[in-house]
Symmetry: C5
Subunit: 318 residues, 5 copies
């Protein structure tokens, strides 16, 4: 399918990439219900690694089977599916070519004693498994942050040379950071900016809170009157930090919550100009029918077609 004008304009921002990488970005942007719109909803399933299998899948035991997630992403019309090596290997043949895959290259686990991740996959793995992109987590602020940066440098260079796209999870953590600081708006924008500077094509961060963490930053936010009062405003600031929109940024869903909470958050992301959402636990921990309905509504929010958005639009028009 030829890329739409909207997608072409996005691809034009990736000035240094070879046609292979651009083709893989196009595949992700042209996939599913949001295909061609420049918006993305991605399914990530690395929670088994991060939190263990029972905490991840016991609520919906069908999800123990790796095939479940490929099929869910496909049935929901999502843009891509991201998972660790073993999860991708287990469905690589059945779902070959069915949807863009993002091979997660590193993960942490709940038994760990330090703020780092183990790298367990290679660019060659991504190529032999037919993936469109590699995914890598960095922890800005961690004692191991420079080592993680050097790991992703090697992987990203090899990925780009081989026509793959690079997705970076940029999660401030460790070092002197407080729990609140991890999602503070100044830190979140900083983390997104670092991922862009490292050469990421798509950046994943958590939705920023209104908290401020670094004193030197706080002074500037106040002096320059940067609006951080609403989620939409904060997202707009993060988009600005992503090379003023020249790099795509998607936001994770965080802990499982109720539907209205999710929809409200997604509307905030959309209104702030986010390129999309990456929603794991909130998708696969619900019964499949419920998950499909929820994901459909999220997609409609990004399309500006969900009921509440339509109502507000109508109200505003009146």
């Amino acid at each position: 399918m030829k890329a739409t004008q909207k997608v072409k304009r996005i691809l034009d921002n990736y000035e240094s990439d070879n046609p292979g990488t651009k083709a893989n970005l196009a595949r992700i942007l042209m996939q599913g219900k949001l295909g061609g719109s420049g918006k993305l909803v991605i399914l990530p399933v690395d929670q088994g690694f991060e939190h263990g299998p029972a905490r991840s899948f016991a609520a919906n035991p069908d999800a123990y089977d790796p095939h479940y997630h490929f099929q869910l992403a496909l049935d929901a019309g999502l843009s891509a599916y991201a998972a660790p090596l073993g999860m991708i290997e287990a469905g690589a043949e059945t779902y070959a070519g069915a949807l863009p895959l993002i091979l997660k290259m590193n993960s942490a686990n709940s038994l760990a004693t330090d703020k780092d991740q183990g790298v367990y996959a290679t660019v060659k793995d991504a190529l032999r498994l037919g993936c469109a992109a590699i995914g890598f987590t960095i922890y800005p602020g961690s004692e191991d942050q420079y080592e993680m940066i050097e790991e992703v440098r090697a992987l990203a260079e090899e990925a780009k040379a081989n026509g793959l796209a690079v997705v970076m999870w940029s999660y401030p953590r460790g070092g002197a950071l407080t729990k609140e600081g991890e999602t503070a708006v100044d830190v979140c924008a900083y983390a997104a900016h670092i991922a862009c500077l490292l050469g990421a094509h798509i950046v994943k961060v958590k939705p920023p809170t209104a908290a401020m963490y670094l004193d030197a930053a706080k002074k500037v936010y106040e002096k320059e009157k940067i609006n951080t009062s609403t989620l939409a405003a904060r997202v707009r600031h993060v988009v600005q930090a992503c090379f003023n929109g020249r790099r795509m940024v998607v936001f994770s869903g965080g802990e499982a919550k109720d539907l209205e909470g999710i929809y409200a958050e997604v509307r905030g992301l959309r209104d702030g100009g986010a390129n999309g959402s990456i929603i794991g636990r909130n998708s696969f921990q619900r019964p499949k029918a419920e998950a499909l309905a929820m994901l459909d509504n999220i997609i409609r929010i990004y399309q500006g077609k969900d009921v509440e958005t339509a109502q507000s639009a109508r109200a505003a028009a009146e």
Copy 2:
């Protein structure tokens, strides 16, 4: 020997592997008395490294000779023999092609002061020695866990590219883990899941106890009413954590114990759907005749043909 339908169905789960790796998995699954059944009994002999020669072999001094173990695995009709480099080298010619060999790549020893292992073999070693698989131990939770994960990543990638299978010993250890936590059912299932995510073809864990270790996991086990009351139930849970059975999982025998204890445990493993057992000290520390009798009975349990199983079946039928 052409693979049985049962074996073919197992091989189909390894969607990303090349024919070379599938052939080696098939060799293991078609070997010995359980050949073709989809069940495995493996003889591992790395206790000399882990505990020293006297603690391992003095009870049955014939076992000091590396040939003894090849011959025992062969005479007992086992599925494969796993051992460190030197042990395999010492019988490589005499037993060339006689049975599938798993080259253990790393080991700890009783003199060590930290929770890590030394890597002492390479994929080239496995290839020049005619092995069917490499074996590697990870210690989830250890301070060195990410380094171990990165070591096995490199070895596993090279092994798969060269048509070998990958067996992972996943033993939680070190860091904040308590002794009880190492075999707690939540941790055991987590460890098995991590090995699957890292791309293992066959996972080896210890039989899980009814203990729970991680608080966040405990809440989920209780909320979702996950049955951990019997060994069979716990094994069923571990099998689920292994991609809902898409990856084979075998259980170690642990410390030497009496025959009835062993048989009861194996029946629990079988009833939980384990793919088999990996039995070291309980095999080679007995006189050979006794070991052969015991292994034959274990195999019969997996075949559903042992006396007690037959009696219960009869009782249930009446």
Copy 3:
């Protein structure tokens, strides 16, 4: 454009370099308003990495867009533009061949807990992006200084072999160094000298203060009556430390300050024989028109054509 005699004389000092590297040094020396004069003004934009996006760009939000900086350097007639990987990638096509680019290979960030930097780019990146030089920061004195030296050794060797130039930011930091010691004249000259010994073509240091840090050095400065009373005198000493002028040395502008402060400093640099300035925040944090006016005046200072210099010249002539 053929190099001027002045530039040729500078190039002659780089006795061991291949024609490719000399050509790239010539490109930088022949670029912009100072082209051919042997003087340089470079625009560096790594503050987003070092201080975060808001602290860097909120004062002049156009600067969030990477294109802004390419265009600013071009419009101001500067000698080169230096920035991290992502910033260069984002304008690599639009500005291909328009001006010499220096790819910054490593950076620190404000969340870091140790005095080191992460290396996130490679010489291959510099080549595929059409850069003229690589840029690398070392922290003489830091606990990680020897590791940084070994990192730049590998990159510099590869860069030179591929016809690129090497620019080193030499910033004393960490270890036993006090804040005052970081810019003390003895330490600054030492840092510049180390960069030359490591094979840098262009050295970047901060303007030295009149402070002295190392006791053993202090005795020598007193005994040999080294003049450190004015900025010009101190810069002359740093130039001497750069192989008596055989290596180019440029000075950073430091924190944003008022125009008169900047001009006075630049006149001091010029009078001491500095090869030029490298001015980041003071450029891009002002509205573009103001920045262009300021940069034009700085260039005129280096050309000896600014008003105040002309006046003093006249006064002296009278």
Copy 4:
């Protein structure tokens, strides 16, 4: 010289080695007065590295000259000469092909503050110098033991692939080990076993004392009534730990002592089935004539021809 039946039987135990490595083992086993007997006496001269030149050579200043040791090993009819890089380089041409050389790859020194060794030679060095084997020391129990194991893995693999033999010095040291524990019989047998598991062709350990170190081992030695009452019995146990004799094990002489002490110890080694001795300081710290006489007597002990052995044999026969 074609190998004797005795030597061929030994070579048969090295089932995985290529003809190049077997040829080098044969060269060592067919060299000197013990050639063809299956017994070895090796001259090692790394004491200069371990203890310094004066402590090693001042007692017999001729020994400062590297040629002295080649000539001593040759004149005494020994099996091989083992030494660090510089020592071998210094006589490589004069003694080319004269006797099998073992290139020591790593050493410690008396100034060191941790229990590790520096690796200062490569397999390519061994090849260009015409050596028959590489020698490497591991310190089982040391905090650095796994790193040492990983160093020897790389070197041993490359050595074997290039037709060289591998000799491992296995010296328990560091970590929690006490001085007494280093030579305790359980630890010594364990260390010898580890070297075999790592793929050594020839293992070097110190003569074990009657001490026991590890509690878990002690219980087994008592339960299984392992005889450790005499040196011969303990050596027999170590030989058993060396794959029941499938790997050669030689014993060091330890500190300089009187002749009767040395001969008694060698008789114990011989009676326990040791493959031989490796005698440094006791050889080269004596005047050459005395050293030759002593080494001749040691060789006669291994041949069963020394006076005291002959007398006891006669006494026993009467």
Copy 5:
């Protein structure tokens, strides 16, 4: 120029080296006023790295220019010039082929907090710059000593394979060593011996004092009555530790001192059989005319032609 018999006899001691390396050793030995005599005087200029530029060059500001040192070594008729990468690069073309160059590969600096050095040059650098040898410092006794040994192993192997010579600065430092211990005669001889064992062609140490550091060594020096009463006697002992003279050893001049002090020390070195001197600060910190006069007299001392030596010879003859 064909090598003299004296030089050929020295070259014969380097039994394992290829003609390329022997040719480079010959170039050094045939260069300058001492050419053909088997004696060496080398100019080393790494003090700028070790102590900073002002402490090194302010006393004689011409020395800030790298060309000054090439020319000084040439004018004084010295054997070779040794310096860090940048210093050699800066004169590589002007002085191409004019005199043998030794590329220093690593250095420390006065800002460092640990006893290590950064490696900043490669063998390829030495080759592209037309050097005859590489120079490398090890710190026996330092916590990083084994890492330094492993660094020089890789560089020395590559250097020798490419026909370069290897000069090792062996400076005991760090760990448990006291300041006095660093130059104690037992430690100095040990350090020289270690460099020889590591495969150095030329060893550089500091002149040993009469102090003794290691207790175990002290006992041997007393028992064996090793003469350490004069500098000549101590140097003789160090020469012995250098494979009984099979490896060349040169001595540094240490801190700047008066001429009589220098000449007396050099006479001691000569009388002890040293191969020569390596004199940095004492050369380039004097005005050039004085330095040339001093170096000429030092050379005459090694030739046995200086006035005082001639007088004593005459006195002895009467």
